[in-house]
């Protein structure tokens, strides 16, 4: 027995992109990597992130180190596996920065992405891991790094599969570029869905019930921004908004619950271009709302959604192509405007 309602809900549309719009996507994504993704300037303290434990053990002839709790490693992610301290100076080097920019230009042109994305991938994951090994974990760049990693894996997989007919240093086929965009969207959707289920899991599915305690989190975010920047706090954000949350808890549940729902709708990003557009736009509005209420900005997330999901240049190009196709189908003749019923006399 088939359920037409469920089938319609989960029906997917094929997702295709034109070469021009994918070129614009790569251009904008490369710009995000260069200006907002890679940590070019890390403090010296980042170079002193403790060695990965396996390396420390090797230094001690394979014996476990006698490290006390005070010297316990705070290395995070990649920094816990690979020694990365050297990357602080490397990322600061102008030569490296220019080289990375040049390789990204080749990536934008679609040239050998397995090779041309590699410097950005190494720098982004390395400096990001060092940044997050300094004692606090920031979540502003992981989604960019994950999209970069996903794209690189797509290109690598295609290069391995097509190693005979299309060598690594050539431009990948159009279909491979489409897969790279698709996997970028899939990674973004997975990031939001993961955030949603983490909220549910951490609160035993009572996250929405506990939303009123967000009043304190809003106060905390606003005061933190004030202590960081040395600016006076806005009474609206620090007092009025938390007051509203506590006075109207169900309205607050509706507001913040919508945010949770949007996160859980992340997989809609890969169910057709129209759904990707509306889901992406809705999540961007959510981020702007959070930025207004809590002074917390996730610019990189907004950039990614705008580039891959909302994709305004793609919409413009498609509408132009459609208009051109219609004109061609009409034989290039202008049709009379149907402003009034035509007389049949």
């Amino acid at each position: 027995m088939k359920s037409p309602w469920l089938t319609a809900l989960f029906r997917t549309r094929p997702m295709h992109w034109g070469s021009a719009e994918m070129l614009i996507m790569r251009l904008l994504f490369a710009a995000v990597l260069l200006w907002a993704g890679i940590f070019w300037e890390l403090p010296e303290a980042a170079a002193q992130v403790p060695k990965p434990e396996w390396l420390a053990m090797m230094d001690h002839g394979g014996a476990e180190t006698m490290a006390g709790p005070e010297s316990k490693s705070s290395a995070n992610g990649l920094a816990a596996v690979v020694p990365l301290g050297w990357m602080v100076d490397t990322a600061r080097s102008l030569v490296i920065q220019v080289l990375t920019g040049l390789t990204l230009i080749l990536y934008v042109a679609g040239m050998a992405p397995v090779l041309t994305l590699l410097p950005a991938l190494i720098l982004m994951t390395g400096t990001g891991a060092l940044r997050n090994s300094m004692g606090d974990i920031s979540h502003h760049t992981q989604l960019v790094a994950m999209v970069l990693l996903a794209q690189w894996i797509v290109y690598l997989t295609a290069a391995i599969r097509q190693r005979r007919e299309r060598p690594l240093w050539l431009r990948p086929a159009h279909q491979v570029q489409e897969q790279a965009v698709f996997w970028s969207l899939l990674t973004i959707g997975a990031g939001y869905f993961a955030s949603g289920i983490t909220k549910l899991e951490a609160t035993d599915f009572a996250w929405i019930q506990r939303v009123p305690s967000m009043a304190l989190q809003v106060m905390k975010a606003v005061w933190s921004a004030s202590y960081s920047k040395g600016e006076p706090v806005s009474g609206f954000k620090a007092v009025t908004v938390p007051g509203w949350i506590l006075t109207y808890p169900n309205a607050a549940r509706l507001f913040f619950g919508t945010g949770l729902l949007l996160e859980l709708l992340g997989p809609m990003l890969v169910m057709g271009r129209r759904r990707a557009f509306w889901t992406g736009l809705a999540i961007i509005v959510m981020h702007i709302g959070i930025s207004v209420v809590m002074d917390i900005e996730f610019r990189n997330h907004i950039f990614l959604l705008a580039i891959f999901a909302v994709n305004i240049p793609g919409l413009i190009l498609r509408s132009r192509r459609k208009a051109a196709a219609t004109t061609e189908a009409d034989g290039g003749k202008e049709q009379p405007l149907k402003t009034a019923p035509q007389s049949s006399a």
Binding site: G135, Q142, G191, S213, M219, Y227, P267
Partner: protein, 175 residues
């Protein structure tokens, strides 16, 4: 791409195949992998504001650094570290020194030691010109705790550690 709800009678392999073949199923699977792996750069499960406390008993800690007159100093400008980032870094040091991230649970001497170590790190990362512009004689590290417990609202500030700021030597008059 066409996808249909698996037909009855229910078959687990068919359902699993249908789930896996659906892009949203693939997306959800990747999300579960991210949740299992957790916060390991470049991967993350994005746990921001996930662990909300119960409204009957919830609190939020804030970090501030003040001068000798208890006036808050702009942390990002002076030390290139924001208040929220700084708090996490202090907690990381406290975890190493006292074995707990909760400053209220740490013994006062270990809390002070962690605070002093944190202030020393801030001093290392300072922007010299900006610090000079504020000309502080002392840095005071404080944690402000805003709490709601059973309908009672409280706002307390605890001094963790202090550091005397080395003053620049007066310039010798030129002969």
């Amino acid at each position: 791409m066409t996808w249909e709800v698996p037909t009855r009678p229910f078959s687990f392999p068919a359902a699993a195949k249908a789930f896996w073949r659906h892009p949203a199923g693939l997306c959800a699977t990747l999300a579960v992998v991210l949740v299992v792996i957790g916060d390991k750069y470049p991967l993350s499960n994005f746990p921001m504001y996930s662990n909300l406390g119960k409204i009957e008993d919830t609190s939020a800690d804030l970090m501030l650094v003040t001068n000798e007159a208890d006036r808050p100093l702009p942390m990002s400008k002076l030390f290139n570290v924001g208040s929220a980032q700084g708090k996490k870094r202090f907690e990381s040091i406290l975890q190493k020194v006292a074995g707990t991230k909760e400053y209220e649970d740490a013994p006062p001497d270990k809390r002070r030691a962690a605070g002093e170590a944190f202030l020393a790190k801030l001093w290392e990362a300072r922007d010299g010109d900006d610090v000079e512009a504020f000309s502080p004689r002392e840095f005071r590290l404080k944690i402000r705790t805003v709490a709601m417990r059973h309908g009672v609202f409280s706002d307390t500030t605890t001094e963790i550690a202090t550091m005397t700021v080395p003053q620049p030597q007066p310039k010798k008059p030129t002969p």
